[in-house]
Amino acid sequence: MGLKDAQKGPVMPAIHLVKLEKLFDWGRKNSIWPLPWALACCGIEMMATYASRFDLDRFGILGGFPSPRQCDAIVIAGTVTKKIVPVIKRLYQQMPEPKYIIAMGNCANSGGIFYYDSYNVVKGVDTVIPVDVYIPGCPPRPEALVEGFLKLQEKILGESAAEK
């Protein structure tokens, strides 16, 4: 990305480079805007987590933007069927970098209870798009979803900005 290249110019001392990266990481971690994408029952838990009791806005996670162009994460909440795979791919391509995917619930992780004897369920959304955080549960409790987001924040802090 152009921004990163500009930082690595010969004028900038190395210590400033580290601090700027940390600042950008801090900004990215504290302001995750997931695309509200509820497919099935896990979607209800996701909506419950956005609501007043388990408020996700505390962490800066604003769920309000329905357009993938303005979001940096998708929470795949629910069962992924073969019919919706092209849609997932298109949404993933429409999102601008840096982007993160959270697979919420057993169905998105691996096919869940539909792993056996199912002709239409994709066995885990990671066969379609790369996933960053897996949240097990059927459905995971809101506290589990919050922990998933916190793990994503840890992951964002941990990776270097040049990788993304």
Binding site: K82, Y116, D117, S118, Y119
Partner: protein, 130 residues
Amino acid sequence: MNERAICVRIEDLKLTLEHLHSEGYNYFSFVTAVDYPDHFLLVYGLVNTGKHEITFIETPLSKDKPVAPSSTGIWKGADWHEREVYDLFGITFEGHPDMRRMFLPEEFEGHPLRKDFQSDEVEKKPEDFY
């Protein structure tokens, strides 16, 4: 809810449906199918909301000609139910405006709810191996 069930031949199905509609059966509740070894059985559920009655209609269909008349001319709500039956069983409905798959992707081959449906992608449960 009063219930009754009748069994009709495939040739009399359209007449029966039209007759029931004129009798006041205004709500098309569902249509589904059963796969028996030698025939299909189409099951309709029609509701008379005025009199709180439901009538089930069973129609056997032969396996080499799984075609039935569409009820979309009588009840608009039959549209998606018939698409579902087509998608999962392969029973086509004549006169349906938009006969295509509903839940499965368009390029899917086969009709899953038939008993003879085989697919490599369907993982067998571990118990099935013993």
